[in-house]
């Protein structure tokens, strides 16, 4: 998959909870695209309309805490965000995110090196570059990136199963 992402920084603080990401009352909207319009509606009302593919969210501690609402990861991904960086993530959110097609990177330090609106470049398995500074990142196994690239866990397994079937037929 693509290994480099470049975009504007959406800077957020500590303890961004799943309700901030998508308010509970929006959680029943049946269409994910429609629901995505309300991502961060209370904290950053302009997010859904202004965010572009490749943009990067930079949060503080405990990003994604709160409920185990799986849509929280989906509404971020549907707005074109591929990478969220934070000092730490809530456990359930961490697992959900990859399974919904979002890459999470733990990094403590970039927060001080950038401000909202800056341009940032993330080279997977290598480093984050922003304002002339570089921050190393941990490696993410290929199989996991494959899930992200396939658009999430269910899609990825489906794709794999179909490929398997085709091979069996041929």
């Amino acid at each position: 998959m693509e290994k480099v992402f470049k975009g504007r920084v959406w800077k957020m603080g500590d303890d961004i909870d799943t309700d901030t990401i998508i308010p509970g009352r929006r959680g029943t909207i049946p269409e994910m695209k429609e629901m995505g319009k309300y991502a961060f509606e209370l904290l950053r009302p302009e997010f859904a309309s202004e965010s572009k593919d490749g943009d990067i969210i930079v949060g503080g501690k405990n990003f994604g805490c709160g409920f185990s609402r799986e849509q929280a990861a989906s509404v971020i991904a549907i707005n074109g965000i591929k990478v969220v960086i934070a000092k730490s993530f809530a456990r359930i959110f961490f697992r959900n995110a990859f399974n919904k097609g979002l890459i999470l990177i733990e990094s403590d330090g970039v927060q001080d090196a950038c401000k909202d609106g800056d341009t940032m470049e993330v080279e997977l398995n290598k480093c984050i570059r922003v304002n002339g500074q570089e921050f190393p990142v941990k490696k993410i196994p290929d199989n996991l990136l494959q899930i992200v690239e396939d658009g999430g866990l269910i899609e990825s397994i489906k794709k794999r199963n179909r490929a398997l079937k085709q091979r069996e037929v041929n």
Binding site: L144, I154, I157, K158, N161
Partner: protein
Amino acid sequence: MANTLVEKILMKNTGIKHVEVGDIVISHPDMFMVHDIYTPYLYETLKEMETEKLDDPDKVTIMFDHCLPTAVAKNDSVHYDAGINLSKKYGIKKVHIGEGICHTLMHEYHYAKPGTVVTATDSHTTTYGGGGCFCTGIGTAEMGAALTTGELWFKIPSAIKVILKGKFKKGVYAKDLIETILGDIRSDGAQYKSIEFTGEGVKNISMESRYTICNMGLEAGAKCALFPADEKTAEYFDMDLKDIEWVKPDEDAKYERTLEYDLGDIQPSLSCPQGVDNVHGIDEVKGKKVQEVYIGSCTNGSIEDLGVAANILKNKKIAPYMKLIVVPASNTIFKQAIELGYIQTFIEAGGVISHPSCALCCGMPYGLLSDDEAILSTANRNFIGRMGTKKSLIYLGSPAIAAVTALNGEISDPREYLEAEA
């Protein structure tokens, strides 16, 4: 490089030579467990994924314990049917219907072996860490994917080391220790972390007690809670100690935090309404009236637990109007308890015996509480309404506290009782 126990187990499973906290690794779990609560969702997920074949059906077990025998006519049969359909469609042969609580069966059947990686669709999967097994709960989507591919990714957690010294005094048990720890580190104190027990005190703790401790490690948010493997582990699993000796943390492994407990200093303790980490020593709680006592669950339904309670209740009668419900955690335990005369003791003391299952622990029959009733339960959670109405109160304590409380009709100190008996 020195590694924690969780690192060592994941390194062995993945073949990766060097790992550190925060690394993501892809494991091949040795065993998967699905219990009846999740069977319909798993069935649907696999269908959505278009999975026709599982990676290895012999590594999968389905256990019916939460909804069996059926308590809610319509709902529970859905879970039952879905479980049977899963087993038929995917050739899963390790099916256990009504044999007891899933977590107890997982170690009784030796499915969760020392040094292996096991995962299940339930939060209290941490239990098997008592036998030195890395085990943690996952959701149905991930279970579906993992059953299809045989793979599951984990992030290497940071770890808390708990050094145990000495021996429990009379009347003090594993439950008191883990509740004391919960009171100290609170319900989020081990979020996403591994709790690893070490020290010379470990050898003085039975296998049953280790399972109790690791079961409740989850209540501190732990990803897993692990005991090292020793002679007791080898005996329980009928294994050669030499083969599992490696299942212990390295001497100089790096821990985020280290706690130390002298087992001799632990006091009988209770989790009070309504929070597992709302822990108080017995002195602060004793005298509180309760209407019901429940001895059972995957936390404290072992033969050792039933024995502790039976010894206190032998030739005694429970307090007038007290409801005492005893649920052996598995059929094997049930049979042992019959042979050892414990069941006779409970019945003669005035107790009611229920079939091995989750029973009251997850609000299933029998014994649900009504408003303003209070219960002393040996289970692991006292969330509001878990065992009845929202206005019922749940105290969590050891089987010994449970037994003396049943006798006195109010929360009592087992030490006083055991001393008077001696």
